[in-house]
């Protein structure tokens, strides 16, 4: 399904103290249209990702997700909304360190209020080559395994929006291609729309749309 706005921004401004770091008059992410937030370090893409995911309140502006503005939502409502609709892949592939890979996935399902989906879980483990690592703790995983586990954790709830922050930083071309193909394929399979923040222009071909962010002058679409 494409076309309906998944995320929408109107008159967004964000500043840290006196320093304005982000200004975006209007922007939207359509459902099914994967989009790349591309920009160099300091261009505000991480701040934008935080604002769009509801983790950061903007200085000014209106953010709507699935037609609902974030503003009037309580912290608790916003947490629920995030758990049910968003999946995250962070740059450092964070996983809950005291839980196994499998338990990390189950935690995401529980937080989203979903019951365990064994079929989908098995598919993810098979697809990501994690079947033998289900009972492993994050500390015992390699960098690549941890990244794949983080992708599985993000996809397990079949989120409407899959957010990724610098998923290919420090990867060579071959691995970048593999990771992006995997993310795209899993997003499509899960029915998720991908929004990725990156400084890596190699990723552009994997997306339907790109929002280019620049440092001081503000964004240009």
């Amino acid at each position: 399904m494409t076309g309906a706005p998944l995320l929408q921004i109107t008159g967004l401004r964000h500043a840290y103290g006196d320093k304005q770091v982000l200004s975006l008059d209007s922007w939207q992410l359509l459902s099914g249209k994967h989009q790349l937030l591309l920009g160099p370090s300091g261009s505000g893409k991480t701040t934008l990702l935080g604002i769009l995911s509801g983790l950061l309140s903007p200085t000014d502006g209106v953010i709507e997700a699935l037609g609902k503005p974030f503003d009037p939502m309580s912290l608790s409502d916003l947490s629920n909304f995030r758990a049910r609709n968003f999946g995250f892949v962070f740059q450092d592939h964070h996983l809950v360190s005291s839980l196994t890979v499998e338990e990390n996935l189950r935690l995401a399902q529980h937080l989203a209020g979903l019951s365990e989906d064994s079929d989908w879980e098995n598919q993810l483990f098979d697809r990501l080559g994690l079947s033998n690592l289900r009972k492993s703790k994050p500390a015992s995983l390699s960098h690549g395994e941890a990244q794949r586990a983080a992708i599985a954790r993000a996809a397990i709830t079949r989120p409407k929006l899959l957010l990724a922050d610098e998923p290919t930083s420090a990867l060579d071309d071959e691995n970048t291609h593999k990771v992006m193909e995997l993310l795209k394929a899993l997003s499509d399979q899960a029915g998720s729309t991908m929004l990725v923040a990156s400084h890596d222009s190699r990723l552009k071909p994997f997306f339907d749309q790109t929002l280019a962010l620049s440092k001081p002058e503000g964004p240009t679409a």
Binding site: T46, G50, L55, N80, Q91, H94, V96, S98, L107, D165
Partner: protein, 488 residues
């Protein structure tokens, strides 16, 4: 969410086993110490109330009044000596006396004290015979529930007593001429009476007469019978002269079973030839050829008191004024002392108060250390798990959930420490009661749980909660944006 919150908390705890166990152990040690003090205190007050059995005054030989109370009521010390029966009789007849129960102490069977007394002793402890009946003849005994349970003794079983509170079978051969027979078992009362072997005063007198001896007092005996020659052959003494025992004999004469026979109490014998010197074997009625007179119990109030003695007298007043008059009057008499259980127990409390206070202070310090230990452990864990907490928040966990998860950690650690500590305290007391007899006699064996320990467990959990409030608040405030900032 709650089950997963608990699962996550448990996972956090076992992910750092050493820190978690050290925290639990520190707090558990404090809880164990407090539990022991609580058990001691609660048991002491409960047990003393039962053991003192409403006795207002204990009258015995001059000496330490505390020793008199400990030996006559709590049965954990040796008696101060004996008092003449004639003096005891005067007190028994005193109008200020409502109840006066005589005690003849000195022997034991395998660590359980043998008490020569009257059936009034059983009434004093508000218990009754659960199996069999109260003695009706000398050498018959009623045993407490613990005696029966621990020694596996049953009705009809015979045994010999030994001097003092001996545990050795070798000591039990000291009264081979005076075997006891179990005729009744008392119902459990959770008081000292559970650990006593109760019989008539005649039985104890008889046990302390040496066969063939001239009846002189024996130093090693705490209780001494009348000084007569003994006749091991058990002849009948139809025409004996028993000067000085008229009252006693008169009583015997009243007994319809033995109308014309004079039977001094120390004639009661078992035919030693029928014994194989085994202490507690069953005898299938082979000793049924005693003199008829052996079956008569003396009336201690009216019998001739000449040469007779008892160890102590447990007195209940007939009127409150007796509390003022009686102790003074008795203490004025040579050889007698009156000890008030209430006063002496208070004195005992005061003597041990310093030790108890020191224990309490130590326990409080240990609890604080235990609480601090939880605080440090959870705070450290929270710092190390800041990214986990931020991740939970990013994944949709509410700040409240993150806060509760930390509180859960404090509750789990402190509950575990509380249960472990209380369990440890009871185990230690059970072990101690097995190797230190006075604890067993006192009934402090760790088998009983007190309401105060429920409060202790609650208090321990509260300490755990208080200790984690600060790290929990810090967790509550963790900003999930730090995951996107990528700073580790």
């Amino acid at each position: 969410m709650m089950p997963y919150l608990l699962k996550l908390t448990w996972a956090n705890l076992i992910s750092r086993p050493l820190a978690s166990w050290l925290t639990v152990a520190t707090l558990a040690a404090a809880v164990a110490l407090i539990s022991i003090l609580l058990q001691f205190s609660a048991h002491t007050s409960n047990r003393l109330a039962r053991d003192l059995a409403g006795v207002d005054l204990v009258i015995g030989a001059k000496g330490s009044p505390l020793q008199l109370i400990l030996s006559s009521l709590l049965h954990i010390d040796i008696p101060t000596g004996n008092i003449p029966l004639s003096d005891a009789q005067k007190i028994m007849r005193d109008p200020l006396t409502e109840v006066a129960v005589p005690l003849a102490l000195g022997d034991s069977f395998r660590g359980f004290r043998i008490v020569g007394t009257t059936p009034g002793f059983i009434e004093l402890y508000e218990t009754k015979v659960a199996e069999g009946s109260v003695w009706t003849e000398p050498q018959q005994v009623v045993i407490g529930a613990q005696v029966s349970k621990q020694l596996g003794m049953k009705i009809g079983q015979k045994f010999f007593g030994g001097h003092g509170l001996s545990f050795s079978d070798a000591d039990l051969a000291q009264h081979e001429h005076a075997a006891y027979e179990v005729v009744g078992i008392l119902e459990p009362k959770a008081s000292i009476i559970d650990r006593l072997v109760i019989t008539s005063v005649d039985s104890v007198w008889h046990a302390h007469e040496e066969p063939g001896a001239d009846g002189a007092d024996h130093d090693e005996h705490e209780q001494h019978g009348e000084n007569e020659d003994h006749d091991d052959e058990h002849e009948h003494h139809d025409e004996h002269d028993h000067s000085g025992e008229e009252a006693h004999l008169e009583e015997h004469d009243k007994d319809e079973h033995h109308g014309e026979h004079d039977h001094p109490e120390n004639e009661a014998r078992l035919d030693e030839h029928e014994h194989e010197h085994q202490n507690d074997e069953h005898h299938d009625g082979e000793h049924e050829h005693h003199d008829k007179g052996e079956h008569i119990l003396s009336d201690l109030l009216t019998m001739s008191a000449k040469g007779k003695a008892v160890t102590a007298l447990l007195v209940q007043y007939s009127t409150p004024i007796a509390a003022v008059r009686m102790p003074r009057a008795i203490n004025d008499q040579p050889g007698l002392q009156a000890a008030s259980p209430a006063l002496e127990i208070t004195r005992l409390y005061n003597l041990s108060a310093g030790l108890m206070d020191a224990g309490k202070v130590l326990a409080v310090i240990m609890t604080l250390i235990g609480g601090l230990s939880i605080f440090v452990a959870v705070s450290n864990a929270a710092v190390h798990k800041t990214y986990d907490i931020a991740l939970l928040r990013a994944m949709g966990a509410k700040p409240r959930d993150v806060f509760l998860q930390q509180i859960c950690e404090g509750i789990i650690v402190s509950s575990f420490a509380g249960i472990l500590g209380i369990g440890l305290a009871h185990s230690l007391l059970m072990l101690a009661a097995n190797i230190y007899a006075p604890l067993a006699v006192f009934g402090l064996n760790g088998s009983q749980f007190f309401a105060a320990e429920g409060y202790l467990l609650t208090g321990t959990v509260l300490v755990g909660i208080v200790a984690v409030i600060w790290p929990a608040l810090n967790s509550y405030k963790v900003d999930p944006m730090l995951l996107l900032k990528g700073v580790r």
